[in-house]
């Protein structure tokens, strides 16, 4: 089996031709993933029983002549902030080291109903807070492209698993770039859908107004297939959208001739390194495909980091209040009063980045600061949102970098949290606006490090975004 090239189409063809059964594929995939994992630490744990049960259901359906679903037999990795009933879900935190969820996330239910085979849970930054995967309580993930470098974060394990070939597709979560940035660092496709497009039910809450679940894949079509399966209204998430889910996969071959593509000048100014060169080259490919490519302006871009780190930490400080030693598995062994128990449990359990964000969030929400920080940030969020609405009057898609630089070395940026936050500049704006965004590989630096091109589209215009991504991929070659 050529694991690093295996696609959903190949799995389907192999099952149909009887080259392997779903159970055989699952067994092989588990063996391969378990053998490869020590290199990258992409998986925190595997779930062979669950994988084989899913695979058996697929084989039974095939034997009865039933349609086993669009993901039949496909090995899938799931970020360990997404709940899996009966399978440990740690959020890469000591606090949830032994937590076994009593229910499944809706995205998990849907992908298994579609025949997907979850083989394991992937590593990430603790509670999805970070841009390098170095904030995991269970050790960092290494980038399969260069093991001395980070895979990006926070969904670093999911990106690394797909890049390494230990999963065909994966689920990640994105609050300010946690799917797109690791996808770009590892050279795979990562999609953050419109806010509300995929149910957040069963996604451990970080910043509820910004959290998304989305797919990783090695090509745009596989990402579109997984998105199609998990998207759609869910009664269990009041913010999930009613809008019908188009058949994204049927529109991928369409022409992009005449599509208007905007390059925001604020994103390209100062991008003079190889990342910039590769982006300009990719924009040239879009022109050759017949797109009208021109400069646009998103004037409030420079305020996005400040806006985002107020809103996300405020929401995080509320959401993480629940980990207090009462309901979720871990309680400080030291005795004391109830309040002392809360404080010691949280002080011992949370890592440095979570503490930093809880503190910042508590500060900006505290008496006397709420208006100056939190409310101010919410008003600036409106301005950033309006920037995009105005841009989409002129263009059908926005093309931008994902990260100012490719994958950096482990440890390189850990001492300066502000610098780490500032590197999220290109992904945060789309998150604040709630629009769909994706990262598509657009080449490698001379040092061999992958770079991603970001495509952003109107709310619920995933079909346009994916079509442009697929057209670029065909022109430039998958994994460019």
């Amino acid at each position: 089996m050529n694991w690093v090239e295996l696609s959903i189409d190949q799995v389907r063809a192999g099952l149909a031709a009887g080259e392997f059964s779903a159970v055989e594929l699952a067994e092989q995939a588990l063996r391969f993933a378990e053998a490869e994992n020590p290199k990258t630490n992409a998986y925190l744990h595997f779930c062979p029983e669950r994988a084989l049960a899913s695979a058996r259901r697929v084989d039974e359906k095939l034997a009865r002549g039933e349609d086993p679903g669009p993901l039949a037999g496909v090995p899938v990795a799931v970020k360990d902030v997404i709940l899996t009933r009966g399978v440990r879900t740690t959020c890469a935190s000591r606090l949830l080291e032994h937590y076994i969820p009593p229910y499944d996330a809706t995205a998990v239910v849907r992908l298994e109903q579609a025949g997907g085979v979850i083989i394991g849970k992937t590593n990430c930054d603790e509670f999805a807070m970070g841009s390098s995967n170095e904030n995991s309580a269970f050790g960092p993930v290494r980038n399969p492209v260069d093991l001395e470098r980070v895979p990006g974060g926070s969904s670093g394990g999911s990106a690394a698993a797909v890049a390494q070939g230990t999963a065909v597709v994966a689920l990640g979560s994105d609050t300010g770039g946690s799917i797109r940035q690791p996808a770009s660092f590892c050279g795979v496709v990562g999609v953050t859908p419109t806010y509300g497009r995929v149910s957040r039910y069963g996604l451990t809450a970080f910043a509820s107004s910004l959290d998304h679940i989305g797919p990783f894949a090695r090509n745009v079509k596989d990402a579109a297939t997984l998105l199609e399966v998990i998207a759609g209204r869910d009664e269990k998430d009041a913010t999930s959208a009613f809008a019908p889910v188009p058949r994204y996969t049927e529109q991928l071959d369409g022409s992009v001739k005449g599509m208007r593509v905007g390059l925001p000048k604020e994103y390209f100014a100062g991008l003079s390194n190889e990342t910039g060169e590769l982006l300009w080259k990719a924009a040239g490919v879009l022109k050759e495909l017949g797109c009208e490519v021109f400069e646009i302006s998103l004037p409030h871009t420079e305020y996005a980091i400040a806006c985002y780190y107020i809103i996300c930490t405020a929401e995080a400080s509320s959401n993480l209040a629940r980990y207090d030693g009462v309901r979720y598995t871990t309680r400080s062994a030291e005795g004391g009063t109830l309040t002392e128990m809360y404080r010691k449990t949280r002080g011992e359990g949370f890592g440095a980045e979570c503490k930093r964000r809880i503190m910042l969030g508590t500060y900006v929400l505290s008496a006397g600061y709420y208006d100056a920080y939190y409310l101010k940030a919410q008003r600036v969020r409106t301005l950033i949102y309006q920037d995009f609405l105005r841009a989409f009057e002129q263009v059908d898609a926005v093309v931008a970098p994902v990260s100012p630089f490719p994958a950096f070395k482990l440890g390189e940026k850990m001492d300066d949290p502000l610098e780490m936050y500032l590197s999220d500049i290109y992904t945060i704006t789309g998150s604040l606006a709630g629009i769909p965004c994706m990262s598509v590989p657009c080449g490698k630096t001379t040092g061999g490090l992958p770079v991603g091109m970001q495509i952003l589209a109107r709310h619920f215009a995933e079909a346009d975004m994916l079509r442009l991504g697929a057209a670029y991929e065909r022109a430039a070659g998958a994994g460019a």
Binding site: I310, S317, A321, V326, R356, I358, T362, K376, V380, H459
Partner: protein, 99 residues
């Protein structure tokens, strides 16, 4: 200085977070840098701009009321299964009321 070590300790108490002296010193420095950056927002005049708490987009009927029908939910035993300390179907915590 945007934030002192004393304020860090106050905020930590609000957040129910025990911190070591080292952590307090480091957080005072980190938060100071971040809050200084965040001051950038004051360059913008936002009077008359509505705050955005959620992503709002044009969509059809989004009222999320559904029929109120009884549905199975997580059992008490399942809900208690992850408790660090439980008995008789309740979460146990250190005593909060003194006789």
């Amino acid at each position: 200085m945007k934030i002192t070590e004393q304020e860090v300790r106050y905020v930590a108490a609000l957040a129910n977070l025990s911190l070591s002296d080292d952590e307090v010193r480091k957080l005072a420095k980190d938060l100071d840098e971040i809050l200084t950056h965040v001051d950038k927002l004051n360059e913008l005049d936002t009077s008359g701009v509505e705050p955005m708490a959620q992503v709002l987009y044009d969509a059809e009927e989004t009222a999320t009321l559904r029929e109120d029908v009884e549905q199975p939910t997580i059992s008490n035993a399942e809900a208690m299964a992850n408790a660090p300390l439980a008995s008789a179907g309740y979460f146990k915590v250190p005593k909060v009321i003194e006789r």
